[in-house]
Symmetry: C2
Subunit: 159 residues, 2 copies
DNA sequence: CATGTAATGTTATACTATAACATATAGGAA
DNA sequence: TTCCTATATGTTATAGTATAACATTACATG
């Protein structure tokens, strides 16, 4: 279970993220409802991106809703408020590892084990900023996704 | 019609790109068939990304095929051989402006006029390379897309 | 011409996402 | 409390994107 492709205490990690989301919602008058909270939990459980319909089938088995709009609305909320990101390359969703901070996230996606790691990127932000500035372009959103092999899967490939 | 958000002779630009694709295919024993060539032309005509079904409806009206696999196969060929890129954020496709060169393209997508500009990025490539290296991650493909406003549309917004 | 490979044709279906409208629920104002 | 309003959820239907699987054709080469 790598994050940044290293081991970590994932139970704590989930708790921290949930608590942080709760605090943030309370502060900003946002409602972290049952469905929204559960979707965030599901996204936090693994460092993999989940498809909307994967999430929906879990919600369905838990009696939290069975139709697509249920999950898409919850995902919209989480993404709009910075608690999750959409991984465009996978048409899937992933919990945000650095909520609360303005950031241009870089995702490293392992094509073999499907782990998704979100990297911090101040320098990259600056770099893209100056590239765009040179072209006179105003940045509103960025999508930066790297697909490849994580350290563990590189070793596995050799075998 | 901006490229890099500036004016340019687009007729020449299309011709150059087509000729370059032909040469490249001849060199590498690839077949630039009627459908593939036409799809590339369509992508070159505008600096906008086209959806697969937009392209398909044109192909259909020209008697070149009416079913989705026709266009998806042509797009797969063009993307696999570096003549076009997929814009993940838009689920759409765009001709490559720098074919033949290994590159990690950066797309600037104007949300207002839908123009797509592909920027050159050696420094960015190096930057991502070192980021990934630090994490032990092996890069295979990169998706870098910036959504925002082009110079012209920024002016228009103010009005 | 025979043969094999690559490309195209065709049918069906899977996967992703949203529109539109109905209902329920929470929190504030009277 | 009661009403009101804004927000969230429930439900049905449908739009948009993409591929699996298999049949047929075209074409380069021995």
């Amino acid at each position: 279970m790598p994050i940044g492709f290293e081991q970590h205490d994932h139970t704590t990690c989930i708790q921290t993220a949930l608590t942080s989301a709760e605090t943030c919602c309370a502060d900003e008058g946002l409602q972290l409802t049952k469905v929204r909270r559960r979707v965030l939990e599901l996204l936090l459980v693994e460092h993999k991106a989940l498809g909307a319909y994967d999430i929906l089938s879990t919600l369905n088995s838990e009696g939290l809703g069975s139709q697509p709009p249920i999950v898409y609305r919850a995902l919209d909320f989480l993404v709009a408020n910075g608690f999750a990101h959409k991984i465009e390359k996978l048409n899937a969703y992933s919990a945000c590892c650095h909520p609360g901070k303005a950031h241009a996230p870089v995702f490293m996606i392992c094509r073999a084990c499907k782990y998704v790691v979100e990297a911090q990127t101040e320098p990259l932000r600056n770099f893209l900023g100056s590239t765009a500035k040179a072209a006179g372009f105003l940045i509103e959103r960025t999508v930066i996704e790297i697909e490849g092999l994580c350290p563990a899967c590189q070793k596995a490939e050799v075998l």
